[in-house]
């Protein structure tokens, strides 16, 4: 009886360790979904902060673009995880980026603009690495496609952020 139950669980594809049962997808894929989701949330939160704080037209235009573009990339990511039967991406700022947002929240004026461009350059460089790697090596086709589509968007953001950051004397 016990053996039969165990066998039917195996047939149904239910893994026997509870942790694995809660977390579909490979470790590589789960880590990608988390990193990409957190990166989108970070960009959206920084953009809201920038729109509330900055009067600089270029900062504001960029922040509006971040809301549009990362709204789009996060929707694409969420749709792909749903199609692949994975947990949806987190709608949370990651622990490693939370201190960046906290620092930005305390700045004003030109210091704010300078800090925003510097953080945007850093964050997009990190995000680009994540998306490029998964686009090249990811094991889930739907998500590889999402990562591949995000790469040129993030490259454009990165170029703009690095140009603005350098023009304001950030190293």
């Amino acid at each position: 009886m016990k053996a039969a139950r165990a066998a039917s669980a195996l047939i149904a594809g239910v893994a026997l360790t509870p942790l694995a049962a809660q977390e579909p997808g490979s470790r590589q894929t789960r880590e990608f979904v988390q990193a990409a989701g957190e990166s989108d949330t970070f960009e959206i939160m920084e953009a809201h902060t920038a729109l509330a704080e900055s009067t600089d037209p270029q900062v504001r235009a960029f922040a509006q673009q971040m809301l549009r573009d990362h709204g789009q990339t996060s929707r694409a990511l969420a749709d792909a995880t749903a199609r692949a039967g994975l947990k949806p991406p987190p709608m949370a700022v990651g622990a490693s980026q939370a201190p960046l947002l906290a620092a930005l929240q305390s700045l004003r004026g030109r210091d704010f603009d300078r800090g925003y461009w510097r953080q945007q350059a850093l964050a997009h460089r990190a995000a680009l690495t994540v998306e490029q790697r998964y686009a090249a090596e990811g094991d889930t086709p739907a998500l590889r496609q999402v990562a591949g589509a995000a790469v040129p968007i993030i490259q454009a953001h990165l170029a703009m952020a690095e140009r603005m950051s350098a023009s304001l004397g950030n190293s």
Binding site: A52, S74, T81, P89, V93, L107
Partner: protein
């Protein structure tokens, strides 16, 4: 803005973040999920409104009633069980924020409550007084600016007179202003914060002490800022470090008299302090996004801590700081 509970998240998937990005003021439509029966469990991430919030600003010291979304102080949710029956409490800054949450909870736990607040905070204070009286408890409204030593002494005397004694003192009122550069901190501003946050507790505790019998409790509101200060809160944060410190010093001094002294260390909490100069607009719209729970705390989420530190069941707790930091700060 978005629901993340496991059942609904399957359905909503992509709609959530896109909506967050597109909506200018999604938080305005949210109401705190307050009117829940006690017990059971909720995902703490989804229990209350999340950023982004609407940009908003009020003159110091702000009114809770004009905040969007309105903070939850436990008005409809806090259920008492006689934990402070017959106790008599004075709470500074009891009109809004954590002081208000403490006032409501104390009354529902059976205590008589006096609240102090600034005269311009009368609209918030009226609501608190009504809530206390609705519990059948005595309520005393004592408006006034605690930057005056003479007023602090009067405050204690009036509270003792109105309640017929005093055995819980919550020193909670504070001034906080976000100023990114020390070069822009005037001596007047520095003095105002020091008077409100450091001198006033000194004067009030000193005046209250002769009335406090063994079994009484003193509670100071400190902050995550005491341990991990933001650069723009240079003035405020050091007063919270001082509060954390006086709690520990007075606990040793007053332990022999049977009086307990403890502190509460909140993380980012949605209170009028934040919309009246305590936070920049940039910080406000994403307030709490930096915490591990992804949202600011609500005053109601600290009510139980104040009750715990005041009640007789907590009789071995003194010189301690209890936190509600949302994953940041370290009391």
């Amino acid at each position: 803005m978005s629901t993340r509970d496991t059942t609904r998240r399957q359905v909503m998937t992509g709609a959530t973040l896109g909506a967050a990005a597109a909506m200018a003021a999604p938080a305005a439509a949210q109401e705190p999920g307050a009117a829940q029966a006690r017990g059971g469990k909720q995902n703490p991430r989804d229990k209350y409104p999340k950023p982004p919030f609407k940009s908003q600003s009020q003159p110091w010291s702000g009114l809770a009633g004009r905040m969007e979304p309105r903070p939850d102080h436990g008005e409809t949710s806090y259920v008492g069980s006689g934990r402070l029956r017959g106790r008599k409490a004075l709470i500074t800054g009891g009109d809004s924020g954590m002081g208000r949450a403490a006032a409501i909870a104390f009354a529902r736990e059976g205590a008589d409550v006096a609240i102090n607040y600034l005269p311009e905070e009368e609209p918030d204070a009226r609501e608190v007084i009504d809530l206390i009286r609705r519990e059948g408890r005595k309520a005393a409204a004592i408006p006034g600016d605690i930057r005056s030593e003479a007023f602090c002494r009067q405050l204690v005397e009036r509270a003792v007179g109105a309640l017929g004694g005093l055995d819980i003192l919550v020193s909670n009122a504070a001034r906080q202003q976000s100023i990114p550069s020390i070069l822009d901190v005037t001596t007047e501003e520095f003095d105002r914060v020091m008077k409100t946050n450091i001198y006033a507790p000194f004067w009030i505790i000193k005046a209250a002490l002769p009335h406090l019998e063994p079994g009484s409790a003193i509670i100071g509101t400190t902050s995550e800022q005491a341990y991990n200060p933001d650069p723009d809160l240079y003035v405020y944060a050091q007063t919270k470090a001082a509060t954390m410190n006086y709690v520990k010093s007075l606990a040793k001094q007053l332990g022999p008299k049977g009086i307990r002294v403890n502190g509460v260390a909140p993380g980012p909490i949605w209170t009028p302090l934040q919309v009246s100069g305590g936070a920049s607009q940039g910080k406000l719209v994403t307030f709490g996004a930096t915490s591990a729970l992804g949202r600011p705390g609500q005053p109601a989420e600290l009510a139980g801590i104040f009750v715990r530190l005041a009640e007789d069941d907590g009789s071995y707790t003194t010189g301690n700081i209890y936190g509600a930091g949302g994953g940041q700060g370290q009391p």
